[in-house]
Amino acid sequence: MGLFNIFRRRKFSSIIQKIFGKKHAKIGIYGPPNVGKTTLANRILRDWTGDIMGSVSEIPHETRRAKWKTNIKIDNGGSSLVMDLVDTPGITTKIDFKEFMNTYGLSKEESRMRAKEATEGVIESIRWLEDIDGVVLVMDATQDPFTQVNVTIIGNLEARDLPILIAANKIDAEDASPATLKSAFPQHPVVPISALTGYNTEKLYNTMVKRFGKKRHKRKRR
């Protein structure tokens, strides 16, 4: 679609919104399993509302249903952002129930149930992509960032022209390398954080207000 067509689709009111900024946005926390999405959601809620989003676990796919909280206000000096925060299940291309049994010691029945629910969770996460205004993409700063899931999520959001903020999580770990993440995705802001300890979350909040406070226009899927 050419720029002329994009411009033609925009209504006058949305152009005004773009100029003056958007103060209420639906923000999704996305990423592969076990990168700390719910830990981050809990950190944001605890810092700004005193609430929490959900339970966390070292076993992947702990969050198997999307959870959300509405009207969370983040202040950043003179400006602020009111958002609905959606904590999504981890997106992956494969789920093997035997991994839950062999690596984490779950029973066969528990493992199969967890795997089945996890597949449904991935589908739900992808469905939520249709309905959000921006994404905090959580990556594990100790892992290789070039996973297909990361690339696919970023490509999908870029195709829709949605703002992305990459949270390079687990920066408190000894082998964390946020520089690798920054060089892998130079087109998006990368904020190194520890959702567990709260390290550098102030910077994350500042960047969220700047990044998500502006109205963007979702493109139709190609």
């Binding site: 679609m1 050419g2 720029l3 002329f4 067509n5 997106i91 992956t92 291309t93 494969k94 789920i95 093997d96 129930f97 199969r112 795997a115 089945k116 597949t119 449904e120 991935v122 589908i123 992808i126 992509l129 290789d144 070039f146 996973t147 297909q148 690339v151 696919t152 999520i153 970023i154 490509g155 999908n156 870029e158 195709a159 899927r221 190609r222």
Partner: protein, 125 residues
Amino acid sequence: MIKKETGISFNLVSRQKLNSFSSVEKLNYILKEVKDGRILVLEQGLTATEQTTLIKHTMKEIDHDTFIGIEMGGYGEEKTSFFQRVFGIIKKPRMTVIGPAHLLKMVHKSNDMIETTIIPGRGAK
């Protein structure tokens, strides 16, 4: 009688064949081939939106005993210039490898190299 080979099928799929499919047909074709135990190298890969849809379809097909999902690796879409965008020229997805997760494992991926390994002892059906 010709004895059937029991190796792993590794199919290189041309851009022309992929272009002959609609998006839905392409995803159905890929998923069927991969479920049948074949590893595909697509000359022209999938758009990010197609990849997301493929993941969604894959999740519906996982049965936990015979199919645990897919392994997929591809280069990012080609960047388009300002003038290409003005004239509505869309980004072209690049080469992508897709296979069943019990057979194919992604070792390392960078901007210029996708390194995979085939899990031994798991021949195609």
